[in-house]
Amino acid sequence: EAGVAQSPRYKIIEKRQSVAFWCNPISGHATLYWYQQILGQGPKLLIQFQNNGVVDDSQLPKDRFSAERLKGVDSTLKIQPAKLEDSAVYLCASSLVFPIYEQYFGPGTRLTVT
C-alpha cells in the first residue's frame, strides 16, 4: 500500500513570495489533514478535510494560507505572501473515517523563508 505522498520535499523562498505544497493521501482515505511543525514544537493542525469539505480550519491563518481538496483526493496548501515565521515543516496526513484515530503521515515539506 502506497503511503501519503508530498511534494516538494524542500522549498526555499523569499518573504512576500508565494508557495504551494501538494499532498496525495492513501487511496480510500476520506480524511486529510495539514499540519505545521515549527522547529522545536509539535505538529499543529492547520486544516482538516473530510472528502472535499472542510471540517476544521480554526487554526489556519486565513489572511495568507489557503487549502483545497478537489474531488476529495489530492490537496494543495498555499501561502501567499509568506512571512519569515512560516518557516516550518508542513505535514500532510490522512485517515479513514472509521477508525478515525489512526493517521498516516507523509514525509513533509520543509519550507525556509528568507
Binding site: G3, G42, V55, L91, I100, Y101, E102, F105, P107
Partner: protein, 116 residues
Amino acid sequence: AQSVTQLDSQVPVFEEAPVELRCNYSSSVSVYLFWYVQYPNQGLQLLLKYLSGSTLVESINGFEAEFNKSQTSFHLRKPSVHISDTAEYFCASSPMNSGGYQKVTFGTGTKLQVIP
C-alpha cells in the same frame, strides 16, 4: 481546551538500558492518547494508542505506555533500548466524542538518543 506536555526535550540513554519518556495531558473531556515516532528524515508513525479498556498498551517493538487517569499521564517505557530506537517521540491526545472527526493535539516531542 486540550494540552499535552512533554517536559523532556532530549533523553540520552545507553543501549540496553531502560527508558521512560514522560507525557502529561490536560483536557476537560475524556481523551484518546497516542504516541507517535519520527525517525530521521521520515514522517510520523503511530507507535501505540489508548482508546479504552486496559490501561497498559503495547507496541510491536517492545514499547509500552500506561494510561493513568488520576495523574493525567501516559508515559512511554521500554525495558531495553536499541540503537534503532533513536528517534523523536511525540505524545498526542484527541477528545472522544468529537462529533465524528478527530482533533489531535501534539506535545513538543522528546528526542531519544541511544548511546552505543
